[in-house]
């Protein structure tokens, strides 16, 4: 039997409505999805404190850890933390980034202290604008510094510890090459100063070369190789930062076999284990940069919100890890 026109009509109308409503609903659903929507409000009603970490280098494992710790604390304390790093590790860029941050009126700056007049000036400027600055890893010790606090290792004492451990491991007799990454003059590098000062106790320990790596592991590796080639008598290498330690370890790995080089390095607690050559660094000064970031943020937050003035220097613990046989 042929279906009646009425039935067809009814079905048609039903289909029509279904199709139209479906299309309409689909269209509504799809068109409601934001595409180029301005989803990120520039300023919320009660903007949290904005802290900026100005790192001396980009993709630096130490500063990455600092940022991680800072972020944890920031999430806990309802503040925001960003990080900017100098493209090429230089004091000028560091200064400019801090200056920009000050101009951008961030609420607090976390950076590395470098013994540099322009850095001191920019810190002063920031402080004059009411922006507290926390130094991490290394402090700036120049006289008119306006930094709020230093959070990090007591570098001088740690340098001494490293030297003492090296003396112990070598029996007080070693030819030492040094690769240092910290920006600023050698005189202000407390890790180096402490190391040097401790070595004065052992007359047979002598430093033959000090090279600067500009916080770049490739540069550090190259410098270490240069030292090893230039001074065949070198028996120990001292790297003052984690980045330098990795570079030196790589260099030592290329020449090892003929010579037994004792590497003394610095590393962070979190980032080290992943490095394949970490076992080449026999003596390591282990810091906790995440704790530093965390403490820095906490200090800033307490200062800005509750007006808690911190200690000038907040030392975080450093441990000496020594592996391999003693002489």
């Amino acid at each position: 039997m042929r279906p009646s026109p009425t039935l067809i009509l009814r079905i048609s109308i039903t289909l029509l409505i279904a199709a139209m409503l479906g299309g309409l609903a689909g269209y509504l659903q799809i068109s409601r999805e934001p595409v180029i929507a301005a989803n990120y409000p520039v300023r919320s009603g009660n903007p949290p404190l904005r802290f900026l970490i100005v790192a001396p280098a980009q993709d630096n494992s130490f500063w990455t850890q600092v940022y991680r710790g800072a972020s944890e604390a920031a999430a806990r304390l309802n503040v925001t933390v960003e990080m900017q790093g100098a493209r090429r590790a230089s004091v000028e860029e560091l200064v400019q980034l801090i200056d920009m941050a000050a101009a951008a009126q961030v609420d607090g700056i976390i950076t590395q202290g470098v013994e540099d007049a322009s850095l001191a000036a920019v810190m002063t400027k920031a402080a004059n604008r009411g922006i507290p600055v926390i130094t991490v890893e290394t402090d700036i010790t120049g006289s008119p510094t306006r930094r709020l606090a230093y959070v990090g290792t007591d570098n001088y004492q740690a340098g001494r510890l490293a030297a003492e451990e090296l003396i112990l491991r070598t029996g007080g007799e070693a030819v030492i090459g040094i690769v240092r990454g910290h920006l600023g003059p050698e005189e202000s590098d407390l890790r180096l100063q402490g190391f040097r000062d401790a070595l004065t106790m052992a007359p047979n320990m002598r430093i033959v070369a000090v090279a600067e790596s500009q916080l770049n592991r490739n540069v550090a590796g190259r410098k270490a190789l240069q030292i090893l080639q230039q001074y065949p008598e070198v028996t120990a290498l001292y790297a003052t930062t984690e980045v330098d330690s990795i570079g030196v370890a790589q260099a030592v790995a290329t020449v090892t076999g003929s010579r037994d080089i004792l590497v003394v390095g610095w590393r962070s607690e979190q980032g080290w284990a992943e490095e394949p050559l970490s076992n080449l660094v026999r003596v390591s000064m282990v810091e906790d940069p995440a704790a530093m970031g965390r403490v820095a943020v906490e200090v800033l937050e307490a200062y800005l919100r509750r007006d808690v003035r911190p200690d000038r220097e907040l030392s975080t613990p450093v441990t000496v890890k020594s592996r391999g046989r003693h002489l």
């Binding site: 026109p5 009425t6 067809i8 009509l9 048609s12 109308i13 289909l15 029509l16 409505i17 199709a19 139209m20 409503l21 299309g23 309409l24 689909g26 269209y27 509504l28 799809i30 068109s31 999805e33 595409v35 180029i36 929507a37 301005a38 989803n39 990120y40 409000p41 520039v42 300023r43 903007p47 904005r50 960003e82 200056d99 920009m100 000050a102 101009a103 951008a104 009126q105 961030v106 604008r129």
Partner: protein, 511 residues
């Protein structure tokens, strides 16, 4: 509104389609409008950022010119204008960005602009105080910040544009999807509109076609078809119902016509029969009149002629004429009135007298009558036709003549009348035909008109089965007719002669 009329259904469907399509189109329009607006807004955001950067640049340049420009007042005024422009642009800065980085940079930009204005204000202040060292210091700082502003703005624009370019394929994809949906919906709607239109057309044309077919059928004269399906549409239903009613009433009408025609035909038939009957009756009447008038006239004339013959002295002629007149008078009596056998015998004698006068010696008549039997009542003209038959057929055609013998006998309560002749006799098959009344008789002029069949039939009707009538005949040897009757005397027949006289008297005026 009930959706039974074509118009209502059509309107409802079309309205629904139009409504939904409109909603769809409106949604599409709104969406495209929204998208366009969004693009425009994002673009306007970026333009504002660029404008702010330009204004800050311009302000920084103006600030730098302050010390070197001789018209410091104008420069300051220009700077003031730029500053209010910067304030305005800052207020108009977008409140949200596409990228997360953009939001941060937007805050930075705003704050940097603020810092710039602070430094610039300090520079202006120092300039006014003629402290050029401080002015230069702040001017340099302001210029640095202006550079930062530009850098930040560049980074902001880059971040925003990057976010744009990241989502752009998504936008394209979505737009294509929406386009496809729109096309699909359009196609579906078109298809459904076509189906609906077809269905509508069918719902209208199907009943109409049925109507047309039925109309053609009826036009061809066939009214017996089933009623047309009326469908659901009000208009068509009305049409179909009207048509069906028309067909029904037409059929009834036709049936009435047919029955009327049948009735008429029957009536006409009956009328015709009536007419025939009437004409027959009239003819019978006419014949009766003829047969009434003529015999009476003849009878009177005969009487007159008989008187004349007596006066002229022709006694024999007179006697004959009187006999003929008697013969005629007997014949003219009411035929349904019974007579006595004696009267009938007398009639037979008169008839034979006439015949003997005609045939002379060729006919001999012998009577053997048992007198007491003559009182029996019989239908008239029962014996005389038998005698006449014997004379005309038995003896009349015989050259040598013959003898007719009438015998009446009474035996108990039965009376036997025998008429016998010795003439030519009747062949066996003709005898049967004569008795059954199917034989042709062409002996006009010589007879009184009644035959054997007539006699037999009257005997049957009169006596039922109490009488017998028999004819025995052998060719060349003669015929013998025998009637056997029950002896029955009707007292009324005693006055038969009186009646006869009355009839005679009645006839005279007519003569």
């Amino acid at each position: 509104m009930r959706l039974t009329t074509v118009q209502a259904r059509l309107m409802a469907t079309m309205m629904l389609i139009v409504l939904l399509l409109s909603a769809f189109a409106l949604q599409m329009f709104t969406h495209s409008r929204g998208t366009a607006n969004m693009y425009q807004e994002r673009l306007a955001d970026l333009v504002r950022v660029a404008e702010l950067t330009q204004a800050v640049d311009e302000a920084a340049r103006t600030l730098g010119q302050l010390a070197t420009d001789p018209a410091a007042g104008q420069t300051e005024a220009r700077f003031a204008a730029l500053r209010s422009e910067i304030y305005r642009l800052r207020r108009e800065l977008p409140q949200a960005t596409v990228s997360r980085t953009g939001a941060k940079l937007m805050v930075d930009l705003d704050n940097m602009t603020d810092s710039f204005l602070v430094e610039a204000g300090a520079a202006i202040h120092a300039f006014r105080a003629a402290n050029l060292d401080r002015y230069y210091e702040h001017d340099r700082e302001a210029a640095t910040i202006a550079r930062y502003v530009r850098e930040t703005a560049d980074r902001l624009l880059a971040a925003e544009l990057e976010a744009f370019s990241e989502v752009y394929p998504e936008v394209l994809e979505r737009d294509q999807l929406l386009q496809r949906i729109a096309l699909t919906v359009l196609a579906a709607v078109s298809l459904i509109v076509v189906v609906a239109a077809w269905s509508f057309a069918r719902s209208v044309t199907d009943p109409l076609q049925a109507l047309a077919g039925a109309a053609r059928r009826i036009a061809g004269g066939d009214l017996t078809g089933p009623p047309v399906p009326v469908g659901v549409d009000e208009e068509i239903k009305v049409l179909g119902q009207a048509f069906n009613q028309m067909q029904e009433s037409l059929r009834r009408h036709m049936e009435e016509l047919a029955s009327k025609a049948e009735l008429e035909r029957r009536l006409r038939h009956e009328e015709m029969e009536n007419l025939q009957m009437q004409s027959l009756l009239r003819e019978a009447e006419l014949r009766a009149l003829q047969s009434q008038v003529n015999p009476h006239f003849l009878f009177n004339t005969l009487n007159m002629v008989a008187k004349t013959a007596l006066i002229e002295g022709a006694d024999r002629t007179c006697g004959l004429l009187e006999t003929v007149a008697d013969l005629l008078r007997y014949s003219l009596r009411a035929p349904d009135r019974p007579v006595t056998l004696g009267e009938e015998v007398a009639q037979v004698r008169r008839y034979m007298t006439i015949q003997q006068e005609r045939f002379r010696d060729r006919i001999r008549f012998r009577c053997d009558i048992d007198e007491p039997a003559l009182a029996v009542t019989i239908p008239c003209l029962m014996v005389q036709p038998l005698v006449e038959n014997a004379v005309m057929h038995g003896i009349g055609s015989r050259e040598q003549g013959g003898t007719v013998e009438l015998t009446v006998r009474r035996a108990g309560d039965r009376v036997q009348v025998v008429v016998a002749d010795d003439g030519v006799g009747i062949p066996e098959n003709r005898l049967a035909a004569l008795i059954e009344g199917t034989a042709e008789v062409n002996a006009r002029g010589h007879t009184t008109g009644l035959g054997l069949y007539n006699v037999r039939r009257r005997i049957e009707l009169f006596y039922r089965d109490q009488a017998t009538f028999r004819i025995e005949s052998a060719p060349g040897r003669g015929t013998r007719c025998l009637i056997e009757l029950p002896y029955h005397v009707d007292p009324h027949t005693a006055g038969a002669d009186h009646d006869q006289t009355g009839g005679e008297n009645r006839a005279h005026p007519g003569g």
